[in-house]
Amino acid sequence: MHERIREIILKNRDRDAKLLAILHDIQDEFGYIPQKAIEFISQELKIPEGEIYDTISFYSFFTFKPAKHIIRICNGIVCNMKGSGEIIKAIEEKYGIGNGETTSDGLFTLQIVECIGRCESPPAMLVDDEVYGNLTPEKALEILRRYEK
C-alpha cells in the first residue's frame, strides 16, 4: 500500500493544492481512505496526522469504510418535490441499507445527498461519477442492477 500511496503522492507533486487531490486519488484507488494512508501522507507531506484527519472528516465524499460503488441519491429541494423519497425507499428496501450504510458484500454504499445540480431532470442520482436523471423507482433499480455485475 505504501508504494501505491507514494506513487499517488509523486503523481501530484507538481500541484499546489496537493492534499485534496491525493485524497481523491486514494479514495478512488482503495474505495475509502485507509488509516495507514494518513500516516504515509503525513510522513511525505510533513503535515501532522491529526490535521489530515481533521480535513478528511470534514468532507462527506471521503469515507473510512471501503465500498465498490457509491450511490448518491439527490434529495435536494427540487428532487425532493419531484419524488426522490420514492427512489430512496425503493433502494433501501432492495439492498437493505440506509443512509451511510454499505451492503454486506461491500458493493454499494448509499448516500442521501443534497442538491447535485441536475434540477432540470429530477429526481436524479449519481453512481460514482455517472449521472442519471428523470428517475422512477423502477428505472433506478434497473440502473443499479447493471452495477451488480
Binding site: 485534496l20 468532507y59 462527506s60 427540487v78 443534497e114 434540477c119
Partner: protein
C-alpha cells in the same frame, strides 16, 4: 452576445472569435483592462453581486506577490445548475475570461475549484487546459507575449460551504472548509495569505464579452444599473425546466416562467435566489423584472438567479423542513449560532410537520432566526433563516393554520 453559445471544441470556439479578447488584452496595459471592466458595470454572478472591476482593482493594487486567481465552480446552491450548463456548453470562454483576469491583476497561477458532483466536467476541463497549454493559450509566454499563467483544477469533496469564497480557499489549502473571519478579504489575504481574486465562472465568462465589445458598450446591454446577460436556473413545477439566458432587467419572473413552458399545475408561489438561501414569495412578485436592483428594491435578492416554482400541491412546511435539513447537514459547525441554530430549527419544523406545532415553537423559531442573522460567522448562517422568514411573511395564514 450570448453566454450560452455552444463551443464544444477549440476550433468551434475560435471560429466564434474565441481568444480574440485575450489577444487584444495582452496588447493592453493591465490597468486599462480593469478600467474596461469597471466601466462595464459587471457585478459578480455568484450571488453577492459585488462589482467585479473593483474587486480586480483591489487585488491589482496589492503589492504582495505572488497573486492568485480562483474560479469558483463549486455550484452547490440547491436548484442552481447554470454554472454546470455553462461549463458543459462553453468551457473555453470561462477559461479565456480567467486568463484575461489573471493578466489584469498579475497572477501567474489560477485554480478552478469545482464540486465533486461535477467530476466528469472537471476531467473534461482538465483535458481542455492541456489542450490550451499545447496551443499556447496557457503556460509560458501566452500567445507570444511575456505573460505566463497556468491553471490547476481542484475538485471539492462534498461540502456546500466550500462555495463560500474563504472556505473555498481553505479547502484549496488542504484544510477543512471553515469560512474565515472577514475582513481581511481574499483580495488582501487569500490563498496562502496572498492577494487572491475569487470569481464565479459565469462572471468570468462575461469578461471576454466586455473586452470584445468595450465596457461602455456592454453597459448598454440590459439595464443601466445592472447590465449584461444573466443565466437563470428555472426548475420545480414548470413544464420545461432548464437554464435560460436573459439580459438583466429585460424579463419579468412571469416571462421567464413562460419561457420555461409555464407552470405545471396551479401556481402557488416560488423560491427565488437559491433553493436554500433564497426567498419564498407569492405571485405578487410575478411582475418583478429580473435584475439585482429590482430584487433589492422589493426586499429580496436575485442570488444565483435560481427560480423554483411551487404549484398548489406543494406543502410549504415540508419545503421549509427540507431547507432546514439542508442547512443542518451543510452547517460547517464552526460557529455556535449556526451549528446549534440550524439543528434546532430543523427539529422544531420537523415537529410542526408531524402536526405537533405549538405557538411557542413559532416564537422560538423566530428568536433563533434573529439570533442567527445577527451572530452567525458567515453567510451560510445568516441566510439559513431567510426561507422561513420570507415564507412567514408571504404565506403566514397558511403556515399558522397547522399550529395549535
Amino acid at each position: 452576445m450570448k453566454l450560452l453559445k455552444e463551443a464544444r471544441n477549440l476550433d468551434s470556439y475560435l471560429s466564434q472569435g474565441g481568444f480574440n479578447a485575450l489577444e487584444s488584452s495582452l496588447k493592453k496595459a493591465q490597468v486599462k483592462i480593469i478600467e474596461e471592466i469597471e466601466n462595464s458595470g459587471l457585478v459578480g454572478r455568484g450571488g453577492a453581486a459585488f462589482p467585479t472591476g473593483l474587486k480586480m482593482k483591489y487585488v491589482a493594487m496589492n503589492s504582495q506577490t505572488p497573486k492568485f486567481i480562483v474560479a469558483n465552480a463549486d455550484e452547490g446552491e440547491p436548484g442552481t445548475f447554470k454554472d454546470r450548463v455553462l461549463m458543459e456548453k462553453n468551457p473555453y470562454r470561462i477559461l479565456e475570461g480567467m486568463i484575461i483576469s489573471a493578466y489584469a491583476i498579475g497572477a501567474k497561477k489560477g485554480f478552478v475549484y469545482i464540486r465533486q458532483e461535477y467530476r466528469k466536467i472537471a476531467h473534461k476541463l482538465g483535458e481542455i487546459i492541456k489542450e490550451l497549454r499545447q496551443e499556447g493559450y496557457l503556460g509560458r509566454n501566452i500567445m507570444g507575449s511575456k505573460f505566463s499563467f497556468d491553471i490547476e483544477i481542484v475538485i471539492g469533496a462534498g461540502a456546500y460551504i466550500c462555495g463560500e469564497e474563504t472556505a473555498l480557499l481553505e479547502s484549496i489549502g488542504g484544510k477543512r472548509g471553515f469560512p474565515r473571519i472577514k475582513p481581511p478579504y481574499p483580495a488582501q489575504h487569500g490563498l496562502w495569505g496572498k492577494p487572491t481574486l475569487v470569481n464565479n465562472v459565469e462572471t468570468l465568462a462575461n469578461i471576454p464579452l466586455i473586452i470584445n465589445m468595450g465596457g461602455e458598450n456592454y453597459r448598454t446591454q440590459g439595464t443601466e444599473l445592472c447590465p449584461g446577460p444573466k443565466l437563470f436556473s428555472v426548475s420545480g413545477f414548470v413544464k420545461k425546466p432548464g437554464v435560460y439566458e436573459e439580459l438583466m432587467g429585460k424579463a419579468t419572473i412571469a416571462e421567464i416562467i413562460e419561457r420555461a413552458g409555464g407552470v405545471d399545475g396551479e401556481l402557488k408561489g416560488f423560491m427565488i435566489g437559491g433553493g436554500a438561501a433564497g426567498y419564498i414569495v407569492n405571485e405578487s412578485y410575478l411582475d418583478m423584472p429580473l435584475c439585482y436592483y429590482h430584487a433589492r428594491a422589493r426586499g429580496i435578492s436575485l442570488g444565483t438567479g435560481t427560480i423554483i416554482v411551487f404549484n398548489t400541491s406543494v406543502n410549504l412546511w415540508k419545503i421549509l423542513l427540507k431547507i432546514a435539513e439542508f442547512f443542518e447537514h451543510e452547517s460547517c459547525g464552526q460557529c455556535f449560532p449556526c451549528r446549534y441554530g440550524t439543528k434546532r430549527m430543523r427539529s422544531i419544523i420537523s415537529k410542526i410537520v408531524n402536526g405537533n406545532g405549538k405557538r411557542e415553537d413559532i416564537d422560538f423559531l423566530n428568536r433563533i432566526a434573529r439570533a442567527m442573522k445577527i451572530a452567525s460567522l458567515c453567510p451560510l448562517g445568516t441566510s439559513a433563516p431567510i426561507a422561513y422568514q420570507s415564507a412567514m411573511k408571504h404565506f403566514k395564514e397558511e403556515l399558522l393554520e397547522v399550529i395549535e
